[in-house]
């Protein structure tokens, strides 16, 4: 999703959003990640201005104090950036890939089903299709990517072929490198 060379040049417009839009964003983030609710006030203070940066490919970044915290595509669900997810690792459903897949995921590849069903992978059966998930790795403590499931966990297990999760955001991609957006 994000190129390795994704940079501030691809941001076409940065707007401070209206209070109503800000409320809407807050609401949808709170709905999506109930675990985040207690700290939401710290992350997205009601008082401080919220900036939404529009980028190419219908991508929106939610910035607070110039730090990207969430992103979404078109009107899709908001997903936290990896830096945020590392701080609050339990807010998303987690799926784990085996060790062999790490290399490819970090190069931006989508997650194939066999990487999730193999002995090193872990599937959470509650995960449905088209939900944002954190992608963990075998033997690692932290998430290495954020994905958007293409099929439900059950389907991944039964079909076991092709792309299971779309890779949205991974370590060392453009968004990861963009710690601040000015």
């Amino acid at each position: 999703m994000f190129h390795r060379v994704f940079s501030s040049e691809e941001v076409s417009a940065q707007n401070q959003v209206k209070a109503s839009v800000q409320r809407k964003i807050r609401q949808s983030i709170a709905d999506e990640y109930p675990g985040l609710e207690p700290v939401l006030e710290d992350l997205l203070p009601k008082k401080s201005p919220l900036i939404v940066a529009k980028c190419q490919n219908h991508l929106n970044l939610v910035l607070v104090n110039n730090v990207p915290l969430f992103f979404n595509i078109r009107d899709g669900p908001y997903m936290p950036t990896l830096r945020l997810l590392h701080q609050y690792p339990n807010i998303m459903k987690k799926l784990q890939v085996d060790r062999g897949a790490i290399r490819f995921v970090l190069a931006g590849a989508n997650i194939m089903c066999p990487g999730l069903t193999s002995p090193g992978g872990v599937l959470d059966d509650e995960v449905g299709a088209e939900t944002p998930v954190a992608i963990m790795a075998e033997g690692k403590q932290h998430a290495l990517a954020i994905g958007f499931t293409k099929m439900s966990a059950k389907d991944i297990r039964t079909i076991n072929k092709g792309i299971g999760i779309d890779n949205m955001h991974y370590l060392n991609d453009g968004l990861w490198k963009m710690e601040r957006l000015d």
Binding site: R4, V5, E9, G35, E37, P38, V39, D42, H86, Q87, Y88, P89, N90, I102, R103, L106, A107, K140, Q141, H142, L144, L171, N172, W176, K177
Partner: protein, 187 residues
Amino acid sequence: MAEKPQPFQVLYCGVCGLPAEYCEFGPDFEKCKPWLIQNAPDLYPDLVKEAGSKEADKVSDQLSSTSISDAGSSKPKEEVKRLPGGKIKKKEKPEIIIEKMTRNKRKCITTVKGLELFGVKLNDASKKLGKKFATGASVVKGPTEKEQIDVQGDIFYDIVDFITETWPDVPENAIYFIEDGKKVPAV
């Protein structure tokens, strides 16, 4: 309101910026190693052991060759940028490429690529070009995210002299034309 979960602190590598445990999959594991040994020795136990043995080697080396200064070891290593997947990225030789595109049969646009590689400010350059040739000249985003200058009109033959005169840093043999899809040196 529930108890606030504390933000989790993740150890990020000081060299490549990844969480330390992912350094081994990062762009340059070799460079991260010293940092890892110092800051996260428990993550890579093998590494510390390896470093320990290396240290021992060094000491024995020094003992055996105290008279020889370590001029050899301080030789600057050639930097090779590695792309993901282990491909080696060649360092690009700075060159200027001039191309002519025809539009409307008798009108054309000359594009100049690569001026920025010589430390030329593209905005200034386009202004100068426009002034010199009395045409429109603008900085345009090229196909591969690189910026280039588009100049209206056919200025193929004057442009080389103009470039070398205005920016003496640019060697004449770094300028190339594209003719029929082939790269031809301007000189």
